[in-house]
Amino acid sequence: MHHLLPLLVAVPLLGAALLAAAGRRVPRAAAESAGCAVSAATAALAVVLLLGSSPPQAEWVGGWVPVGGESVGIVLVGDGPGLGMAALASALTLAALVYSWHYFDEPPRGHSGSFPALLLLFQAGMCGFAIAGDLFNAFVWFELMSVVAYALTGHRVEEARAVQGALTFGVVNSLGAYAMLMGIGLLYARTGELGMTRIGQELDAHGPPDALVLAGFVLVLTGLLVKGAAVPFHFWLPDAHAVAPTPVCMLLSGVMVELGAFGVWRVHDTVFSGPGGLPAADVERALVALGVLTAVVGAVMCWYQRHIKRLLAYSTVAHMGLFLTGIGTLTPEADDGVALYILGHAGVKAALFACTGILLDRYGSVDEHALYGRARRLRGVAVLFVAGGLGLAGLPPFGTALGKSVTEEAVGGPLTVLYVLASAVTAGAVLRVAARVFPGLGPRPEEGDVYETTGSGEEPETRQRLSRVPDTMTAIPAVLLAGSLAVGVVPGFGGAVGHAVQEAGTGGLVHVSVHWTAPGVLLGLASTALALALAAVAVSRPRLLAAPDRALPLRRLQSGHVGDYVAWLLVGTTLLGALALPGILGS
């Protein structure tokens, strides 16, 4: 079975290569069907491998199995979290392909296969990164994923915003990736190895951590946290998500950004968790501090948006903060919770983007104010949008609620409040949009002239404005929401995820049972109630919760200027280093 692991990458790549080679000859429908078929086949393979991933498998590509514990080859890791992320990425790619089926704007002339081929390459990059057990190999697939994402984000080249957002995305993420490569170079110099587990062993053999280990940790994490949109590395994300085509947004927000958090978990767990790595207290301080900052900034900025895609993008930032905080506490229980939370969040967030895409293609706008009361007739979409908002708040029995409650229990104390508030504020913003756009509740929003990006003047992504919404476009968000619900409802699913994460993380030494608890359900209900209350107040008394002047400095930071973002990246790297420094000084 483990010989099949590389096929998770090879199959979508082969599909993409064939589509690109034959794309000039075959009609569009055939190219898109082929893309869906290949993507579905990869998803099925990922699920089959996932079912056989206990105990975790390892595959040495090229048959370079270690001799005396040492190998010259590349190892792939087929454990629960890795294959789970690969399966999630594949499922969302399939959803994006079906969503864009036939209606998405015309591809470049004579290249009907190019859009599905790019999505397949994206899928291959994400799968490759998820199962990489070699640090440099992880960098390579990380770069593939990034390069495809830049191209897909700027795909609508007629839009001035799209190309600007894609360029910012490209510059900031590439710089992060090069910082990561510097880190890999430093670790290679110290250990002479590239396999993650081997690097960890060599670091342990070398003795207590020093400045070089700290630098390796900080630089590698810089790359991953840029991808994972942790404050202050996050500025590219709203700019890119606001402009990317909807199917691409579903993938970026649903799984690519989360892969950054997954990478942090993987790299810490395999490379830096031993005695030669960084002390746990320092890693915890660094990750939890950045996580809390990210959750707060993301939630506040989310509330002040009127561009719906941008609003959803900030809600992704806030949730990434919650994921990072959970991972940062370095407890097996929190890892379980975050894994479930990521699964539940992916379905909900992708569904919300899909619904927003329908609004864009039907009304030519994604602006909360301009759409006021215009979507009254889209009842089905309204139901899906509200359900998505409630899922985002963590209404039991959504998977988000299960993941959130397990994480809350693991982090405990004041951090629980953060989880409740961040999910309530972001969900409140989504429900506020739903209340204004669909039934047109409350007074008509006033036009402000403050520092903001409106969502009007956007071109539909379909060839012309849709007069009726195609079934595929409504079916996809429904299926995604059902998936998110299934994460929380299917008996034994949470336990299976928890078991898989434990087996990969602690080697199966710790057994934590994952299930619904009364406090968890109550906290989920509390954040849902809070979200509903916030939305109700915002709609009925807009003045009360409108952006105060003192929020303006925070909003001005998001300047759209690539130089600013690079400066923030440097500050973030320094901050990360300073937060993790005490342990090095002490030892």
Binding site: F136, V140, E143, V147, Y150, A151, G154, V157, E158, E159, A160, R161, V163, Q164, G165, A166, L167, T168, G170, V171, S174, L175, Y178, L181, M182, G185, L186, Y188, A189, L194, P238, D239, A242, V243, Y304, Q305, V450, Y451, E452, T453, R555, R556, Q558, S559, G560, H561, V562, G563, D564, V566, A567, L570
Partner: protein, 115 residues
């Protein structure tokens, strides 16, 4: 001299970052990004160097006759070069479109996305 080559890599990386942050022209910014990447080539190749060693190619060298430098970092650097070239191509393609849609390549004048 023991760490000079490594310090060059650090210097090149920071110089690239400074250029990126203060750039007034997006083409220049993409160039600065390549500078940052050059730092990784310098670091990798410096890490792999071995005193008095030659290239790890045995078509005209008897194996074992002379020490050779680390071939792995050279392969990594090659991968890195290809990645860098493609990223540069893609970003320049985006700059072409930015210049068409915005009529400028000065990042100070791009004000569509903010807040």
């Amino acid at each position: 001299m023991d760490v000079f080559a490594y310090l060059v890599a650090a210097w090149v990386f920071l110089a690239g970052c400074y250029g990126l942050a203060t750039s007034r022209n997006l083409i220049h910014a993409v160039g600065c990004l390549s500078v940052c990447q050059s730092a990784t080539y310098v670091l990798l190749l410096a890490v792999g160097y071995r005193d008095r060693a030659t290239a790890p190619v045995f078509s005209d060298l008897k194996p074992g006759a002379r020490p050779v430098v680390d071939p792995v970092v050279q392969a990594l650097a090659l991968t890195d070069v290809v990645v860098g070239a493609t990223v540069t191509a893609l970003l320049l393609a985006l700059v072409v479109q930015v210049s068409k849609r915005h009529g400028t390549v000065d990042p100070d004048e791009l004000s569509e996305l903010r807040g």
